[in-house]
Amino acid sequence: MDSNTSAQLLSILQRYVFNVANLQGMLRMATPVILAGLCALITSRAGILNIAGEGMILFGAWFAVAGSYLFRNAWLGLLAGILSGLLVGGLFALFSLKLRAHIIIMGIAINTFANAATIFMTRAVFKVAGNIADPRIVGLDPISIPILKDIPILGPLLSGYTFPVYLAWILIVVTTIFLYRTPWGLHLRAVGENPQAAETLGINVPRIRFAAVMASGVFASLAGVYLSLGHLKMYTDQMAAGRGFIGMAVNTFGAGEPIGVFLSSLLFGFVDMIGYRLQADRLLPPYFISMLPYVATLLALTVYTLRRRQAAKAALQAADTDKE
């Protein structure tokens, strides 16, 4: 490679990768995905197939804006969002766990219902259609962390985000500790892997499942809160844009581990961010940017599964030759 090419390569890298603004964008875009991923994680670890994340994010976003508008206070909006998550999670749990509704049907129904209901409520309550954008909505303010922000290079990367971004990171750590170091976390994992094992030892399996679903509601609603209050200060129809499902994908890549969800979400945020960059630089036609997250998800799922299979095969062929 001659010096010209390597100079070009370096400048590309600088522009798209090692660029503070870009990395900040990556972290921001990863946030709702991290939370959606946790939503999928907590239920899948408990052995529940939860596809209602999308709907729960929508409700969270809507009620956060409604709450902020009503009380002129972003934190109360946040609270409203969380409460909606608990409510939807609770209803989901009630119908599918207790009333024996087919869990996939319930998930589909909740997502479509959330879509219709939020559009309806936007018109009914705010008397507008499409967006709720009003100066009366108070968004969350960026938080400037005193010592961190002064660290060279890393400083701007760690400080200056709104609350949900930090909350997502904290929740990743908390969830990890919860799953592996607390009794309830162990019980939850047992319920997910072998519910009979848990049941015969006196663990209340239905209660754990219920709690897991409600927790997933909270996680998802936090993703919604971030979308509407944490960045843009407005609500748009269909704001979740598939993040509920991308969260499921991210949980798969992360193999059900919180740290895996975190890293996969970062990757996703990176791709998302790159897309915007490329659009700004007019390197890709417009609508293709929007497609990027979804195409990326499909590709990533494919690659991940293929590589897992290859790895398993290789490992076992090695083990075989030992045994023979």
């Binding site: 162990l186 994992r189 072998n194 015969t200 006196g202």
Partner: protein, 512 residues
């Protein structure tokens, strides 16, 4: 336990049962499948609520509404299928639900120390940090027993504990039981194997059709009497059959190798021939490759190496349908998953291997009249108890469903019939029916491969017996010359005086 009554939809599983156990004894609870033994113990352990009856421990009445209540009362149960979490360690499994804690966290050190302590106290050696999924079955059972001891169980209920053990592991288990009893525990031992009852128990209670038939001191009775009590009539311990006259080879396996779900080689080079008109029985403790062997023959699992030939045709890499077209029929081990589609109708279940060809199908269209006649005939000939051919399969009992499977598989006049665990979970009448039909198929010229974990079944039905151990055939013998002792040794991997090299897990289990 007094006057226990437990009802499930359509059946009274426990009908006014009185059952009592004395402190420090080993009490066997026997009966055929469906007699109500496990149900009764599940009531005791709090898994089921009885409609009527009472439970007293040491004279005091107790009310058991859940597993926790039972555990509090000092009752512990080891079930037939282990209730262990595969990815957890031994310690985590034993302490599950009762973990020692410091504030909100699990106190792993204390947990581990506790486990080591009781492990030594009761002489049940386990590695506290090993993960369950890496451990062999015998060790897993020890973990299950330790679970109960960790919770200070005084009364231990063991449900069919020897189903998954070799004769030698069974002896080890008996040693453990005796030492537990010597240490003051009481053991209730559910089984349908009468020799074990005679060997280990102090008293035995027999149940039949949900009722207690009687309780006797073991030394005052014998297997024949117990069998009579269990069944209510003379039991045919051997199927009546003619001498076999085998003809051409139908099934040939040549150095067949098959991987299991974890991609480990579970069938490690099997060569076998089954001729028309003979029954070859494959004996062995479950988990030695039987499942994968059958799946490979049927075509549900790919062969990693070697070949499978049916009637001279190499079908090693052919689809299930091609194999069936070549004369294969199979009564699968997984009756409810593979053998039938529970949500489909009886008729739909009967035609899955014939719906696409004459006379059931013509030009892509199903011939509903032909199919209907076929179904009705099958119901009649096989005496399937049902209200009609269009009812969903889940309305039928286990025995009747197995008849549906048989009816379908035999209807193609197969050249090769593979039968896996055919009588698991069936009542005595259905068992006799199945055995007779299998012999009939043989007499009509089919080559029959019987795979069963029930040694008595293999010995009574087969003309020739092979024993499977760790994926290889370790012995072959004419059925007439076979002995349980000899087969048992082979099943444990011991051939001609020297042991077959064990996998590490097995060795630990035998050394302990």
């Amino acid at each position: 336990m007094r006057g226990i009554r437990k009802v499930f939809p359509g059946v009274v599983a426990n009908d006014n049962v009185d059952f009592s156990v004395e402190e420090g004894e080993i009490h066997a609870l026997v009966g055929e499948n469906g007699a109500g033994k496990t149900t009764l113990m599940n009531v005791l352990y709090g898994l089921y609520h009885p409609e009527a009856g009472s439970i007293h421990i040491r004279g005091k009445p107790i009310h058991i509404r859940s597993n926790s209540d039972a555990i509090h009362a000092g009752i512990g149960m080891v079930h037939q299928s282990f209730k262990l979490v595969p990815s957890f360690t031994v310690t985590e499994n034993i302490t599950l639900g009762a973990e020692p804690t410091t504030s909100v966290f699990v106190d792993r050190k204390t947990a581990r120390d506790n486990v080591v302590r009781i492990s030594e106290q009761f002489g049940l050696k386990v590695d506290p940090d090993a993960r369950i999924r890496d451990l062999p079955v015998g060790v897993q059972q020890r973990v299950e027993i330790l679970k109960t001891l960790y919770r200070n169980a005084d009364i231990l209920i063991l449900d069919e504990p020897t189903a998954v053990l070799t004769p030698q592991e069974t002896r080890d288990l008996f040693g453990v039981i005796r030492s537990l009893v010597a240490g003051g525990k009481t053991v209730v031992f559910i089984t349908h194997k009468l020799r074990e009852v005679m060997e280990i128990s102090d008293r035995v209670t027999v149940m039949r059709d949900g009722k207690v038939v009687g309780t006797k001191a073991t030394k005052d009775t014998n297997p024949a009497e117990l069998a009579r009590m269990m069944v209510g009539r003379e039991v045919l311990l051997r199927v009546k059959k003619e001498e076999a006259s085998p003809k051409d080879v139908v099934l040939r396996l040549d150095n067949l190798k098959v991987r299991d779900d974890r991609l480990l080689m579970s069938v490690r080079g099997i060569s076998l021939e089954v001729r028309a008109g003979e029954i070859v029985g494959v004996a062995g403790v479950e988990g030695n490759g039987q499942r994968e062997l059958v799946e490979a023959i049927v075509g549900l699992r790919p062969a990693a190496a070697g070949s499978i030939t049916i009637g001279g045709k190499d079908i090693t890499h052919q689809s299930v349908r091609v194999r069936r077209e070549s004369g294969l029929a199979c009564v699968p081990e997984d009756r409810y998953v593979r053998g039938v589609a529970l949500q489909a109708s009886l008729q739909e279940n009967l035609i899955v291997d014939s719906y696409y060809k004459q006379p059931h199908c013509g030009g892509g269209l199903l011939n509903l009249k032909e199919i209907g006649d076929f179904s009705n005939d099958a119901i009649e000939v096989f005496d399937i108890r049902t209200t009609g051919k269009d009812v969903p399969a889940f309305t039928l009992s286990g025995g009747n469903l197995q008849k549906v499977v048989l009816a379908r598989e035999l209807s193609s006049q197969p050249a090769l019939l593979v039968v896996a665990q055919p009588t698991r979970g069936l009542d005595i009448g259905s068992i006799e029916f199945m055995h007779q039909r299998i012999v009939d198929a043989r007499d009509k010229g089919a080559a029959v491969l019987l795979v069963s974990a029930e040694l008595e079944e293999v010995m009574s039905l087969s003309d020739r017996i092979v024993v499977l151990y760790e994926g290889k055939i370790v012995g072959t013998v004419e059925a007439a010359k076979a002995s349980e002792e000899g087969l048992g040794l082979w099943m444990a991997g011991i051939t001609e005086g020297h042991a077959v090299p064990h996998s590490r897990g097995e060795k630990e289990a035998l050394d302990a």
